[in-house]
C-alpha cells in the first residue's frame, strides 16, 4: 500500500457553521455515540450467547488465546517423522546461517547409513526468531512452530533447548509448513486463517 499523507492547513479559516462549534461537536459526538451504541449492542449480544463478533478487539489474554496467523514465527522446532525419528540430517546449514549462532549440532550416522543429529542444541536466549534456519534447511526438518507461550525463564540455562525438547510431531506444524511451502514454492494450498 502506498503511503498517503494529508497536508494539514494550520491556518484554516473556519466557516461560520464550523466556528459556531455546536454542529461540529454534535458531529463528533455522533461518531463516538455510534461506536458506543454498536459496541454496547455487541457486548449485550455476546452476553446473551450470540456469536462473538464485536468491534472491541481487546483479548482477555490468559483466558483467551489470540489467533496465530500461519506465517507466525514462534520457537523453532525439529520435525519428528511418523516413525519417531527426526528428519534432520545434521548437514549444519542452519548452524552456519544462524545470525546469533544459537544452534550447535553434533552429527552422527545410523546403522543404515542415515545421518542424524546426535545432539541438537538451540539456545533460546539467543535465538532471534528470524526463521533463517527454516529457510536454509533442505529437509524441512527445522520449522518455526507456533509456540509463543512459556518462552521466558528466570534462568538462562533453562532456555538452552535440547533435541528432545525441540522435537515436534509433524502434524503440529502443518499450518506453518503449508504457509512456508506456499511462500517459498508457490504452492497455494493454504488459506489465511
Amino acid at each position: 500500500m502506498a503511503i498517503t499523507f494529508k497536508k494539514v492547513d494550520r491556518n484554516a479559516k473556519l466557516t461560520l457553521w464550523e466556528a459556531s462549534y455546536v454542529p461540529e461537536i454534535l458531529r463528533g459526538m455522533s461518531i463516538t455515540m455510534r461506536h458506543f451504541l454498536t459496541n454496547m449492542a455487541g457486548l449485550v449480544m455476546e452476553l446473551a450467547g450470540g456469536r462473538k463478533h464485536r468491534k472491541i478487539m481487546t483479548l482477555y489474554y490468559p483466558e483467551e488465546d489470540p489467533v496465530i496467523p500461519p506465517s507466525y514465527r514462534g520457537r523453532p522446532a525439529l520435525v519428528r517423522r511418523s516413525d519417531g525419528l527426526e528428519k534432520c540430517v545434521a548437514c549444519g546449514l542452519c548452524e552456519v546461517i544462524c545470525p546469533p549462532h544459537c544452534i550447535s549440532i553434533v552429527g552422527a550416522e545410523r546403522e543404515n547409513g542415515e545421518r542424524y543429529p546426535l545432539t541438537y542444541t538451540l539456545d533460546g536466549s539467543r535465538c532471534i526468531f528470524c526463521g533463517l534456519c527454516e529457510e536454509a534447511c533442505p529437509k524441512e526438518a527445522i520449522i518455526m512452530s507456533h509456540d509463543w507461550k512459556n518462552l521466558c525463564e528466570y534462568d538462562r540455562s533453562k532456555m538452552i533447548y535440547s533435541k528432545e525438547q525441540l522435537l515436534y510431531p509433524e502434524r503440529n506444524l502443518v499450518r506453518r509448513l503449508e504457509a512456508i511451502r506456499g511462500r517459498y514454492f508457490g504452492i497455494k494450498r493454504y488459506k489465511n486463517n
Binding site: H35, F36, K55, I56
Partner: protein, 364 residues
C-alpha cells in the same frame, strides 16, 4: 419555630442527598467514566477487580481505588503552606456539596398530614445561591495551587482562577433569560412552573442550555476546558502535590460538580422531577387506589426516580462530551468565554426580552 417533624424531614433529606451524591454518584461516575469511555473507544474497560469472584462489570474498581488511596501516604511537600495545603481539598468539596441544598429533587407531597417539600432549603434566591457557592470552588483550587509550593500547581491555579472567573460571568448571564421567563429566582418555583411540558426550559431556551452547559463544563474544569489540570502541560495542575485521601477529595469534588451541574440543568431546563404531560396532582390522583398517604409516597418515589434518571442521562451526556473533544488551548478558552459566549448570552437576553414583550414567549 422549628418543629420536630420539620427537623426529622430536613435531616432525612440531607441524609438522602449526601447518600445520593457521595455514596451513589461519586463511585458510579467513576465507573461510568471508565466504562463509557472504554466502550466509546472500542475498549472494554476495567473489569478485573473482584470480590469473591464477582466483578459486577468493573464496579468494584471504584472501591479498590478508594481503598488504595486511603492507605497511601498523606504527603505534604517541603516548603508547602501546611495548613492551607490541608484546607484546600475541603474548600473544593464543600461548595460542590452544599450547592445541592436548593435543588428540588421532588415536588410537594402530603405525607401523614405533614407537608413535605423535597428540597433542603427553599430559598427565594436559589439561582443566586448556587452561583455564589459555585464561585467559592475557585478558592479551593487557587489555595491548593498556591500552597503546594510547585510551579505547575501555581500555573494551574492561575489558569483555573482566570477561567472560572471568566465563565462565571457568562454562566450567570445565560440564566438571566430563564429568570426573566419564569419571573422567579427560586429553583422550586421554576420547577413548579415547568409542570406544563410546553413551558420547559429546554423548549424555549435551547440556546441558553447550550451556553449554560458549555460554561458549566468550563466552570467544572473538565475536558475540553481542563487547562488548569492539563496533564500534558502541567503534570496534574493544581493538585499535582496531593496524594491519598486529599487527592480523593479533589476527585470527589470534580464528580460532585458534575452532579451539581447536571442537577441544575435538570432543574432549569428539563423540568426537575416533572414527567412530561403529567402533573404532580394528576399523578397523585392516578395513584389514588393506594390511599392518600400511599399515593403521595408513591408519587414522591416516582418523582425522585424521574429526577435521578434525568440526572444520570445528563451526566452521561457530559461524559460523552468529555470523551469526544480534545482540549482547548488556554487562549482559545479565554476567547471562547469572553468573545463568543458572553456576547451570545447578552444577545439571548435581548431576544428573550423581546419575545416576552411581544408575546411570542408565553407568560408563565
Amino acid at each position: 419555630m422549628i418543629t420536630l417533624p420539620d427537623l426529622v424531614e430536613t435531616v432525612v433529606k440531607i441524609a438522602f442527598i449526601l447518600g445520593l451524591t457521595i455514596g451513589f454518584y461519586a463511585p458510579i461516575i467513576g465507573w461510568i467514566e471508565r466504562k463509557q469511555s472504554a466502550v466509546m473507544q472500542d475498549r472494554i474497560g476495567g473489569n478485573r477487580a473482584a470480590i469473591l469472584g464477582f466483578t459486577v462489570i468493573g464496579l468494584f474498581h471504584s472501591l479498590a481505588d478508594a481503598i488504595k488511596l486511603i492507605f497511601k501516604e498523606d504527603f505534604v511537600p517541603r516548603g508547602a503552606e501546611t495548613a492551607l495545603h490541608r484546607l484546600a481539598p475541603v474548600i473544593s468539596v464543600v461548595p460542590a456539596l452544599i450547592a445541592f441544598a436548593v435543588i428540588p429533587f421532588g415536588g410537594t407531597y402530603n405525607l401523614w398530614g405533614h407537608e413535605t417539600r423535597l428540597v433542603i432549603a427553599d430559598l427565594d434566591v436559589g439561582v443566586l445561591y448556587v452561583f455564589a457557592i459555585a464561585s467559592l470552588a475557585t478558592y479551593g483550587v487557587v489555595i491548593a495551587g498556591w500552597a503546594s509550593n510547585n510551579n505547575w500547581s501555581l500555573l494551574g491555579a492561575l489558569r483555573a482562577a482566570a477561567q472560572m472567573f471568566s465563565y462565571e460571568v457568562a454562566m450567570g448571564l445565560t440564566i438571566i433569560g430563564l429568570v426573566m421567563f419564569y419571573q422567579s429566582l427560586s429553583l422550586v418555583e421554576i420547577v413548579d412552573k415547568q409542570e406544563n411540558f410546553y413551558h420547559w426550559g429546554i423548549i424555549w431556551h435551547f440556546p441558553a442550555f447550550i451556553l449554560f452547559l458549555t460554561c458549566a463544563i468550563a466552570e467544572n474544569k473538565r475536558i475540553p476546558f481542563d487547562t488548569p489540570e492539563a496533564e500534558s502541560e502541567l503534570v496534574a495542575g493544581y493538585f499535582t502535590e496531593y496524594s491519598g485521601m486529599k487527592f480523593i477529595m479533589f476527585w470527589t469534588a470534580e464528580f460532585l460538580e458534575i452532579v451539581t451541574i447536571s442537577a441544575l440543568c435538570v432543574t432549569l431546563f428539563f423540568g426537575g422531577h416533572q414527567i412530561p404531560f403529567v402533573t404532580v396532582s394528576g399523578l397523585i390522583d392516578f395513584l389514588g387506589f393506594l390511599g392518600p398517604n400511599g399515593a403521595n409516597a408513591a408519587a414522591m418515589l416516582i418523582g425522585v426516580a424521574v429526577f435521578i434518571i434525568k440526572l444520570t442521562l445528563l451526566i452521561m451526556l457530559q461524559m460523552s462530551i468529555r470523551w469526544t473533544l480534545p482540549r482547548f488551548r488556554y487562549d482559545q478558552v479565554m476567547k471562547l468565554g469572553w468573545k463568543m459566549i458572553l456576547p451570545a448570552s447578552l444577545i439571548w437576553i435581548f431576544l428573550v426580552g423581546a419575545g416576552i414583550l411581544t408575546g411570542v414567549m408565553p407568560a408563565v
